[in-house]
Every structure is written in structure tokens, then in C-alpha cells.
């Protein structure tokens, strides 16, 4: 039987161990109809070239983020939220990213133009998961949108997190603007924009490449694409002819690379190099990260775990265990601990009230009273 997702990249090591049914399964090698010739450099070796503390911290955040997403899905499935979308499968890349961000408010710090799959980035930055749960439950206490927006739609001005919005890729048009101010401001704050592969078909992605690389006016912008090779149900190879999205940056004279986003170590080291370049050179860098999508696009497609894509946490745990930095028991215990903590937070959020209907008039305009502008004296 032909695998349903022949284009999915799975590291050979995983396939050999039979942990993840994949196109490279020894029983029946697939013949993809339109394969990508590109294979990211396999970096998931036994060497773990980072400090033990950092490795374990990354693992901790990844597990926590997975447990958060799984709790959000469980909330959706039990009627405690209307819609779920998030980032299970992207924890390795997003965690590495979050650990490298210069967190704060204003142009001295990094501006973050994210999309809706980056809970792991926020957790890696030190965010408490309760906010995401409240947003899922659309309570008045939701710190990002006050019950107005979907799960995963973070906004946190204190950390320069621009509001995540559902129309994918609009963030690519805005990000050069914050980077432009930072270029003028000086210092080492940069802007970071993330989107998915499907959305790079939008004109906003081209806008980003053009505006980031104007001659003599290049801006400190780290342009990220997490490529899970899906646009909801449409395979990347059905709709895009470019083999590596990062190649699109080459035409604009910017540095580019495509990395294995499922390997937190590789992602960390590759991102670190890109961060350092953008911080010091004050020029853009385009990084494409190949990642998995482990629960489908969103709740609209069922939000069920898929077994034919690489699971970055399972892979990383195997390597940590092999190296003696973790045991199976300690890994399982960590997961159980976070699962229970998040279940408790969800129980807490379930008791919290929705926003009052009358609050729709709040924050239409800054500095102005919340009122219905068409209200009459008679009511």
C-alpha cells in the first residue's frame, strides 16, 4: 500500500527503527508522483553539541508545548472551545527560536510577527500556558485578545509580540516596518517574521523580500518559513514549483538556508548563526525550516494525531536517552506532570466567565470611551 504522504520528510534513522511509518519504509519504497529532490542535511546524529542544561531545557519546553496543544485539542473536543489551531510538530524549531529571542518592549528588543503555530516559541520565552488555555476557552481573562480571537492567536505588547491574525502571511508585509524603525534606532534588536509554506504563495511574501532588501536600505529582519508541506489539505508539490522556498531569497541577494526544523539542536545552531548575522549586519536572512504537522491543519480537519510524519519529541528523546541525559521513565514522568498541570489549568479556566457582551465597544479607538456610536437617547 502506497503511503498516503510520500512527500513527507522523515529522517532515515527513524524509519529504520520503525518508529514512524514512512515512505522510506523498507517493505515498499514509495514512488512519489512529484517528489521533492531536496533533502535537508541529516543532522540528527548521536552527537549532541550543546550544553546539557540547554538540551534538557529545550526538551522540557517541547514537552510542555506538546502537552499544551494536546490539552487545547482535548478542550475543543469536549466542547470547551470552538476551534483549535496550533503547532504540534513544530516544537523543535519553535523552541529553539524562542530561546534565541531578545525579549522586551520597543525597538531595542526583537519584534515578533508570528503565525498561529508558535505556542512553543512563547513558552520558550517564558510565557505561562494558562493564557493560551484561556484564549481557547475565550474567557474574559484571555490575556491576548480578551476572548475575541482563536487559540494560538497571541498578542503581547510587553514582549513585542504583534497580534497573530488568521489571514496568513499579512505579517510578512508588516514586518519590514518594525525592522525599518530598528535599522534607524540602532542597537541589536531585530524583527522576526514566521509563516507557513502555503502562504508563501501570497503576494505578501514577495512584498517582504522586496522591502527587506532595498539596496542600501536593507533591514534587520529574520524571515522564517516553517514548511510542513501542507496548505490545509493541499500538498505543497501540487501548487508550488519552487523546490526550496529559501531559494526565493537568493534572487534578492539575501542569505538563505533550508534547515531540518525537526531537530532542535540543528535548528538552534542554524538559527543562532542567522540571528547573529541579522543582529550585527542589520540585513535580512531567509530561513526555511522543514517541519512536521502532527495533528492536521486545525480542528476543522479533526485534530487527530498522524503517525506518518516525524515526531520531533520522540526523536529528540531517543537521542537524549541514548546519550544518558534522560531515561524513558523520566521522559514519561515529565510528560505526565505537564499533562496533569495543564488539565488543572483547563479546569480553572472552565470556571472563568466569558467577556460581557457590552465590551464589544472597548478598544475600537485608543483613548476614547467605549460606547455604541449609534446609540440614541431613547435607547
Amino acid at each position: 500500500m502506497a503511503p498516503p504522504f510520500p512527500w513527507v520528510y522523515t529522517p532515515p534513522a527513524m524509519a529504520r527503527e520503525g518508529k514512524n511509518p514512512s515512505p522510506s519504509s523498507p517493505t515498499k519504497p514509495p514512488k512519489p508522483s512529484s517528489p521533492s529532490k531536496f533533502k535537508p542535511k541529516i543532522t540528527q546524529s548521536d552527537d549532541l553539541p550543546l550544553e546539557k542544561d540547554l538540551l534538557l531545557r529545550m526538551h522540557d519546553v517541547m514537552v510542555k508545548a506538546r502537552c499544551l496543544e494536546e490539552r487545547l485539542i482535548a478542550m475543543y473536543k469536549s466542547g470547551h472551545g470552538y476551534f483549535w489551531i496550533g503547532g504540534p510538530g513544530e516544537e523543535a524549531f519553535n523552541t529553539a527560536l524562542g530561546l534565541l529571542i531578545k525579549k522586551g518592549e520597543g525597538p531595542a528588543y526583537d519584534y515578533l510577527h508570528f503565525h498561529y503555530r508558535q505556542s512553543a516559541t512563547l513558552l520558550a520565552m517564558g510565557e505561562e500556558p494558562l493564557g493560551a488555555i484561556r484564549q481557547m476557552k475565550n474567557t474574559a481573562t484571555d490575556p491576548y485578545s480578551g476572548g475575541r480571537n482563536f487559540a494560538g492567536h497571541f498578542a503581547k505588547k510587553a514582549w513585542n509580540v504583534a497580534p497573530v491574525s488568521s489571514p496568513i502571511e499579512v505579517q510578512y508585509s508588516m514586518a519590514p516596518g518594525t525592522a525599518w524603525v530598528q535599522k534607524r534606532f540602532g542597537g541589536d534588536g531585530i524583527s522576526i517574521v514566521t509563516g507557513g509554506d502555503a502562504g508563501t504563495a501570497e503576494g505578501d511574501f514577495a512584498t517582504c523580500l522586496v522591502w527587506a532588501s532595498r539596496p542600501g536600505k536593507e533591514v534587520p529582519l529574520l524571515i522564517l518559513v516553517t514548511n510542513n508541506r501542507w496548505g490545509i489539505s493541499t500538498p505543497y508539490t501540487d501548487v508550488q514549483g519552487v523546490e526550496k522556498i529559501s531559494d526565493r531569497g537568493v534572487a534578492f541577494g539575501m542569505r538563505t538556508k533550508t534547515i531540518d526544523g525537526n531537530d532542535p539542536i540543528s535548528a538552534y545552531l542554524e538559527l543562532k548563526e542567522a540571528f547573529e548575522y541579522v543582529r550585527t549586519e542589520r540585513k535580512p536572512y531567509l530561513v526555511e525550516a522543514r517541519v512536521s504537522r502532527l495533528y492536521g491543519h486545525s480542528s476543522a480537519s479533526g485534530a487527530n494525531f498522524v503517525t506518518n510524519e516525524a515526531d520531533c519529541i520522540a526523536q529528540f528523546e531517543d537521542r537524549l536517552i541514548k546519550k544518558g541525559l534522560l531515561t524513558r521513565q523520566s521522559a514519561d514522568a515529565l510528560r505526565a506532570k505537564y499533562a496533569e498541570e495543564l488539565a488543572e489549568l483547563a479546569r480553572q479556566a472552565k470556571e472563568e466567565p466569558f467577556p460581557e457582551g457590552s465590551t464589544i465597544w472597548e478598544h475600537v479607538f485608543k483613548g476614547e470611551p467605549a460606547r455604541d456610536p449609534l446609540a440614541t437617547e431613547e435607547g
Binding site: 497580534p163 508588516m174 519590514p176 449609534l374
Partner: protein, 351 residues
């Protein structure tokens, strides 16, 4: 007296010197051209953007997010349509972040007919703009108002769309901008870029003073007792001319320049219509789901028992474009004679 293009330029000069405007940009906004209507000649923070309207709006949003104060231009409003979801996003950024992120940004764009601009240089945007909550929408009809309203826009904490009626761009005002030289051609010599090589040219800015025209305040430009006419932009001066002409025919019309479309000055309209019992709304955007239709709805909701005649709207015809030939343009958007006739007819209606 400054014309509207010069008034916009003077306001932007004042704003970049005193109000913290950091970036004035758009297609051909910087030197050497200084804008296709010359609105941005000689300014110090102007620059030319790529030919990319979505990039222009996105850039303005990003600059505003990071603490800058941008004034972005879309060269003609006919080309703003591919930015409409970014305009929506700018309008909902404060709301969707529950009050965290506001965007102090101004987008200015020339609108409307009157320069024989054919299908893609004649359209209006006020009907579409007033469907996008979260924006303040301004449209002056005199140079002095353009100056004062733009100064207010540049001090706003929220996104402001500044619609400039291009038919009025070259019309000189009747009131001096404070600090403007009174001699007729003196201003042009100081701030209009010369033809030919401009590389060495610098504007000699007069010491203009601020004028405060808060957003949301209409202006009653002619008092009258029998009929209220509410308009803005290109059609406003025509309404005033028609009212003056009709005075000799025994029709006493009150003319209100709305100036700000959102938030709009309902108190002024309401008081006037309550007094006259008759109202004509005039603008040149297409008439189906036109902003004037909203004003009529509110008029009937709140003033029904005060009305002596049905509230009326005179607006652009609901056709896909404004044709190039004089005859086609005249048939598509309200002209002086149309306004005159509509006012006269409304004044004659009795319950």
C-alpha cells in the same frame, strides 16, 4: 493663498518638525517628484517606496507598531483596493489585541473625479472606507481644513485615512494658513519645486502655525432655514454655489461640510435637519451601499417626525467605472446642475 496640495505639504512640514512624523512615503513621494500631485515636495522625511500598495500599508503598520509615526500615500485611491484586508487588519489591531496595540498612522490618498482621470483615476473610496471599523476617515474641501485636519490626523493614536479630493487639489483657498505669506505667488516661490533639475533645490518653509480642527467636527458653511445639504470633498463647493444661487429663487438652504466621515458630527446634522425638515446628502461615490444611505437611515430613525420630505441622496451612478469622455463623467457623478435641481426639487416637496 495655498491650494490644497500646498496646504497638505505645509501640514506635513509642520508635522515632521513638531508632531513627530518620522516617515512620509509612497510611490514617487520622495524626490525628485514629491508626489504626483506635488503634495510632498521639499519635505525632509519623504522617501520613494516600491510600487507595492500592500507593502506601503504593511510598512506603515510596522512603523507605527515600533513607535514611528508614518504618513503613507497610496497614489490614487483606485489602487488601494488590493490593500483592503490590510486596512481591515489595521482597523482591528487594537480591538483584536484587546487594547494592547494601537497604530498611530495616516494613510492619505487622492480620491474622486474631476480631472478626466478615466476608469482608474476617478473613483471614490469613502463608501468602502466607511465599511472598515477602527479607522478615522477625513475628507477636507478647503486648503485650510486640509491643513488643520491633517495636523489632527498626525496627532491621532489611531489609524486615519485622509482622502484628498483631487478636483480641489489646485483650488486656492479663501483663508490664509497662519504663517503663510499673503502675497499671491510668494508661497509658490518658497515651496514649489522648480521644473527641470531639482537636485540643489530646497524648500524655504514659511513659519506656519498650527490650526486646530478636531476630527469629528462638521462645519456649517452656510446657514439656512428650509433645507439641509450635507456633503464633503469635491461636491461640497458645488453645494455651496447651488445654495447661493437658489437664494435668489427663494430657497434658503443650510450647507454642512461633514469634513470627517468617521466619527461624524451627527449632532450638527441632527440639529440642522430638525430645524429645516428637509435633507439632501451629496457625495460622488457609487450610490448603492453609499455612506449617505447610512445617514438617511439614521435620519429616518431619529428624525422621522421632524421631516417634511423624504431624505434624499445624490451620489455617483452605480456603474463599474467613470468613463473618460466629458459626457460620460458628467453623467456618472453629481454636477453643479444636478445638485441645484435636487435641492430645488426637495425644497418644493410638501407633506
Amino acid at each position: 493663498m495655498a491650494n490644497m496640495a500646498q496646504a497638505v505639504r505645509l501640514a506635513l512640514h509642520y508635522a515632521e518638525e513638531h508632531l513627530g512624523v518620522t516617515d512620509i512615503f509612497g510611490e514617487d513621494v520622495g524626490p525628485p517628484l514629491g508626489g504626483v500631485f506635488t503634495c510632498t515636495q521639499g519635505l525632509k522625511t519623504t522617501w520613494n517606496s516600491p510600487l507595492d500598495e500592500r507593502g506601503i500599508i504593511g510598512m506603515a503598520m510596522g512603523i507605527a507598531m515600533a513607535g514611528g509615526r508614518p504618513v503613507a500615500e497610496i497614489q490614487f485611491c483606485d489602487y488601494i483596493y488590493n490593500t483592503i484586508d490590510l486596512l481591515k487588519l489595521a482597523g482591528n489591531t487594537l480591538w483584536s489585541s484587546n487594547g494592547q496595540w494601537n497604530l498611530p498612522m495616516v494613510v492619505m490618498t487622492p480620491v474622486g473625479s474631476g480631472i478626466r482621470g478615466s476608469i482608474y483615476h476617478s473613483h471614490s473610496f469613502d463608501a468602502s472606507a466607511t465599511h472598515i471599523p477602527g479607522w478615522k476617515i477625513v475628507m477636507p474641501s478647503t486648503p485650510l481644513d486640509a491643513y488643520g485636519l491633517l495636523l489632527s490626523a498626525c496627532q491621532e493614536q489611531n489609524p486615519v485615512l485622509f482622502l484628498i479630493p483631487k478636483a480641489l487639489m489646485r483650488i486656492k483657498g479663501e483663508e490664509l494658513i497662519p504663517g503663510e505669506p499673503s502675497e499671491d505667488k510668494a508661497l509658490s516661490k518658497l515651496i514649489d519645486a522648480p521644473l527641470g533639475d531639482r537636485t540643489q533645490w530646497k524648500a524655504q518653509w514659511p513659519a506656519v502655525q498650527p490650526v486646530s480642527i478636531p476630527l469629528g467636527q462638521a462645519k456649517t458653511v452656510r446657514a439656512g432655514s428650509q433645507l439641509t445639504v450635507v456633503s464633503y470633498g469635491r461636491t461640497l463647493p458645488m453645494c455651496l454655489l447651488a445654495a447661493n444661487a437658489l437664494a435668489s429663487e427663494g430657497v434658503d438652504a443650510e450647507v454642512i461640510d461633514l469634513r470627517t466621515l468617521w466619527p461624524y458630527d451627527w449632532a450638527t446634522i441632527k440639529a440642522s435637519v430638525a430645524k429645516t425638515g428637509r435633507v439632501l446628502y451629496v457625495n460622488e461615490d457609487t450610490e448603492v451601499t453609499n455612506f449617505g444611505e447610512h445617514l438617511i437611515r439614521r435620519t429616518t430613525d431619529e428624525l422621522f417626525y421632524k421631516l417634511l420630505a423624504p431624505p434624499k441622496l445624490l451620489a455617483g451612478k452605480f456603474v463599474p467605472g467613470i468613463g473618460l469622455a466629458d459626457t460620460l463623467e458628467a453623467a456618472s457623478v453629481p454636477q453643479q446642475s444636478d445638485i441645484h435641481a435636487a435641492m430645488k426639487k426637495l425644497a418644493a416637496m410638501e407633506p
